[in-house]
C-alpha cells in the first residue's frame, strides 16, 4: 500500500510540474502526457502550385520527399515508391512545354476511399487523405481508382524507414501532405525545398482560413485543378496550366 501511495504522490507532483512547463516532458511518466487536439475539422490543407515558376530540370521537391519519407528505391523506376513526381506537359498545337509536380491531390471526395474494401484508405478531418497501413491488405484497388496515379505499392521488404513514415512490404502508400510536419505546425518537405532550392512555386496553407495566403490567392487569382471535371474536389490547385 505504501508503494501505491508513493507512486500516486509522485504522479501528482509530476502533473504539477507539467502545468508549469508543458514543453519539458520528454520521457514522461503517466500523468504528464498532453496529447494534441488532433486534426481540426475546420481546416482544409491544400497546395497552390505556380507552374510558370517550376523549372523543367528541377527535382528539389521530389528529392526532398524521398529524403523526408525515407523512400530508398531499388533502382526500378516503374515500381519504386514515389509520393511526388514531375510531369512534363506539351501543348501539341503550340509546342509549348512546361513541367509540374503531381502528388496525391487530397480530394474532398477521394475515389480511393470509396473503393477501399477494408477502410484503410481514409480522409482525416482536416482533409488529408492517408492509407492506414495497419489494415491495408495490399489489394491496390485504390491505385486503380486514383485518377492522378498518386499511389505506390511497396513490393519488397523495406529497411531504414523514417520513424515518422513507417512503411513495409505489401501496403499501398502515398503523399501524406507531410501530416507529421503539419501536425507539428510546419509545412510539407516539398514546399520547404521548393522555397529554399527551387523557385518557390509551391504554397501550402489552409484553404478554409480566409486570412491565409493560399485562401486569399485562390479567391483573387485564376487557379485550376487537374481533371476538375471528375468532381472529386482536389485540395491541390495549379496556376499556369
Amino acid at each position: 500500500m505504501s508503494h501505491d501511495t508513493t507512486r500516486r504522490e509522485l504522479l501528482k507532483g509530476a502533473a504539477a510540474v507539467v502545468t508549469l512547463a508543458p514543453g519539458l516532458t520528454l520521457i514522461a511518466p503517466a500523468a504528464e502526457a498532453a496529447p494534441t487536439a488532433g486534426a481540426n475539422p475546420a481546416s482544409r490543407w491544400g497546395l497552390l502550385i505556380d507552374t510558370s515558376k517550376c523549372d523543367d530540370g528541377c527535382t528539389a521537391c521530389v528529392d526532398a520527399c524521398t529524403a523526408e519519407m525515407g523512400l530508398g528505391g531499388h533502382g526500378r523506376p516503374l515500381t519504386d515508391a514515389q509520393y511526388i513526381r514531375k510531369v512534363t506537359v506539351r501543348d501539341p498545337k503550340s509546342g509549348h512545354t512546361h513541367s509540374l509536380p503531381v502528388m496525391c491531390q487530397h480530394c474532398a471526395k477521394p475515389p480511393c476511399v470509396d473503393v477501399c474494401p477494408t477502410g484503410a484508405s481514409m480522409k482525416r478531418a482536416d482533409g488529408i487523405v492517408l492509407v492506414d497501413r495497419h489494415i491495408c491488405i495490399g489489394c491496390r484497388y485504390c491505385m486503380m481508382a486514383c485518377p492522378y496515379k498518386a499511389r505506390s505499392f511497396a513490393h519488397e521488404d523495406q529497411t531504414g524507414q523514417k520513424e515518422h513514415n513507417p512503411r513495409g512490404k505489401g501496403c499501398v502508400e502515398a503523399c501524406t501532405l507531410c501530416a507529421h510536419r503539419v501536425d507539428a505546425g510546419g509545412q510539407p518537405a516539398c514546399v520547404e525545398a521548393c522555397a529554399s532550392t527551387g523557385k518557390a512555386a509551391m504554397l501550402f496553407g489552409d484553404l478554409n482560413d480566409p486570412s491565409s495566403e493560399i485562401a486569399r490567392r485562390v479567391a483573387k487569382e485564376a487557379t485550376t485543378r487537374i481533371r476538375a471535371d471528375l468532381g472529386v474536389d482536389p485540395a491541390v490547385r495549379y496556376q499556369g496550366i
Partner: protein, 131 residues
C-alpha cells in the same frame, strides 16, 4: 545388488545437482535478460505494461493516424527512444535485434513482433526527432 542400485541413484542425484546448478537461487530466475531503459520510470507500471502494451499501442496508433492526435503517452516512438541500447560503436542497436528489449521478451514468450516490418527500430536523428 542393493549397494549397486544405491550408488547408481547417488550418481544420478549428483548429475542432476550439476545440471540444475547451485540450488534454488537460480531456479526462479528463468526470465529473459531485458536491457535497462534510459528513463527512470515507464509510462505505466511495468506489470501493466508487460500485460497490456500491445493494447495501448493499438489504441493509440488509431488515434494518431486517423485523428491526428499526437504526443499521447503510449507511443511506439517513445518506447524505442527510451529502450534502445547503443552498440560498441556508439550507434543504436535495433530494438528487435537479438538480446535487445523487444526481442528478448518476445523470443522468451514465443510471440512474433509485427511492428518492425514497417516501423523504425532505432530513434530518428536529431533533425527528425525534433518534429
Amino acid at each position: 545388488m542393493k549397494g549397486l542400485v544405491l550408488s547408481a541413484l547417488m550418481g544420478i542425484a549428483a548429475l542432476a545437482a550439476v545440471l540444475v546448478g547451485p540450488g534454488p537461487a537460480t531456479a526462479g530466475d528463468l526470465s529473459p535478460a531485458v536491457p535497462h531503459a534510459k528513463g527512470s520510470q515507464c509510462v505505466e507500471d511495468p506489470a501493466v505494461m508487460r500485460r497490456n502494451h500491445m493494447d495501448f499501442l493499438k489504441h493509440q496508433r488509431d488515434e494518431t493516424l486517423r485523428k491526428g492526435i499526437r504526443g499521447a503517452k503510449h507511443s511506439l516512438k517513445d518506447c524505442v527512444t527510451c529502450h534502445v541500447q547503443n552498440g560498441k560503436d556508439g550507434k543504436p542497436l535495433p530494438v528487435n535485434a537479438e538480446g535487445q528489449f523487444c526481442e528478448s521478451c518476445h523470443s522468451y514468450a514465443a510471440v512474433s513482433i509485427d511492428c518492425f516490418q514497417c516501423h523504425a527500430t532505432v530513434p530518428g536523428t536529431e533533425k527528425t526527432a525534433s518534429r
